[in-house]
Symmetry: C2
């Protein structure tokens, strides 16, 4: 049972641990999109994107909604906005520190 929760957590991180899937998730943070829209963000094959969406959905990061021929994806993992905000902050701080230490080195 605990093991099951652990596996679900790993699944979420795995889903986000790919540039294409992370980018998709970040876009869906802002708006719902159909597969056709998402596909246009990348130069990969349509079926490749489709598989990435399946991974994100199965991890519970995103969910889908069918409307005629189209499938619309939107965020399902409520935490994601907060997580990305915090991580972006960390990375910006890290880069700022790194840059300022370079500045000091020059002086």
């Amino acid at each position: 049972m605990d093991d099951m929760i652990s596996r679900r957590k790993v699944e979420i991180f795995k889903a986000l641990a790919h540039p294409v899937r992370l980018r998709i998730s970040e876009e869906l943070l802002r708006r719902e999109m159909c597969v056709c829209d998402i596909t246009e963000l990348f130069s990969f094959d349509r079926t490749t994107i489709s598989k990435h969406l399946a991974v994100l959905k199965s991890a519970g990061v995103i969910k889908d909604r069918k409307e005629g021929l189209f499938v619309f994806y939107s965020l399902d993992l409520k935490c994601l906005g907060m997580m990305m905000g915090c991580i972006n902050n960390s990375i910006e701080n890290e880069l700022r520190d790194h840059l300022s230490s370079l500045e000091l080195g020059k002086a």
Copy 2:
């Protein structure tokens, strides 16, 4: 530059996307530990753990501190506590919903 930030983010998620590395990170959330302590949490080879630690460190999730023969690891990614709290919540809700829908199905 934006691309660099994106790569860093993916690196963080990749680092957390493995049961051993996630477990290590969660333990370090509670206390600093030496490699010897961390190794004892698992039945994997010592060198396997060492490599997982290197992955986490290079992603900026954890940092190390040497003291004599020992190397102590501790958390470096400030967000992690909040992230894990939120994800644990999501998963618990998901499981609760799943269970209660099973209950309804029985009735």
